[in-house]
Symmetry: C2
Subunit: 121 residues, 2 copies
Amino acid sequence: MTDFMTDSRHDLIASDRVEGTAVYNRQGEHLGKIDNFMVEKRSGQVRYATLSFGGFLGIGNDHYPLPWSILTYDTDKGGYVIDLDKQVLDNAPRYAADARPDYDEAFGRNVYQYYGVVYPW
Amino acid sequence: MTDFMTDSRHDLIASDRVEGTAVYNRQGEHLGKIDNFMVEKRSGQVRYATLSFGGFLGIGNDHYPLPWSILTYDTDKGGYVIDLDKQVLDNAPRYAADARPDYDEAFGRNVYQYYGVVYPW
């Protein structure tokens, strides 16, 4: 990921550089990686980034939707940092890779509330 | 791309389903494909989608930043449709794949102006 900065112009980041990026917490524990992220089609607003971990060779791992706003990119770590104890993920909203749910309003509010973020839509 | 709808929940679309999607104009001409898109990190706002075409096996093709808002997904075509004559791309802002420019404000205003879209930031 040494070329990360070449794809990070000013305040912008390329979509394909977000995908696959490692996620850590403030204690430096590796939580997983960003699998992909969900964009509101009409407005172009990113609503969720999906953290994935576990499973074997990416098979069977769970996906954890996170509010985009809780992710901060850390150039030293070469990944995103979120202020989150690992245990918080134990009960977090998640779904199996092959069972992506309806991202409806109830789902969205639940995700945002779980991470203590106001659901702004 | 038959599974497109399974990754398109309500008004949301997954980032990795945008990448690689074909782009047509209203005359049905194939213009290229979406290579990736650029997200404003802090706000999570998508600013540009990058159309690429030309080259050989993806090598040497030019990248054309487009305002996200001019893309409309057409389920019948299985791709994005933009209201654009092919010739308009002849003089459009572009860059070589290995020479991504600074996406600064002047660059952004130029791109948006070229496609007749107000630069809203």
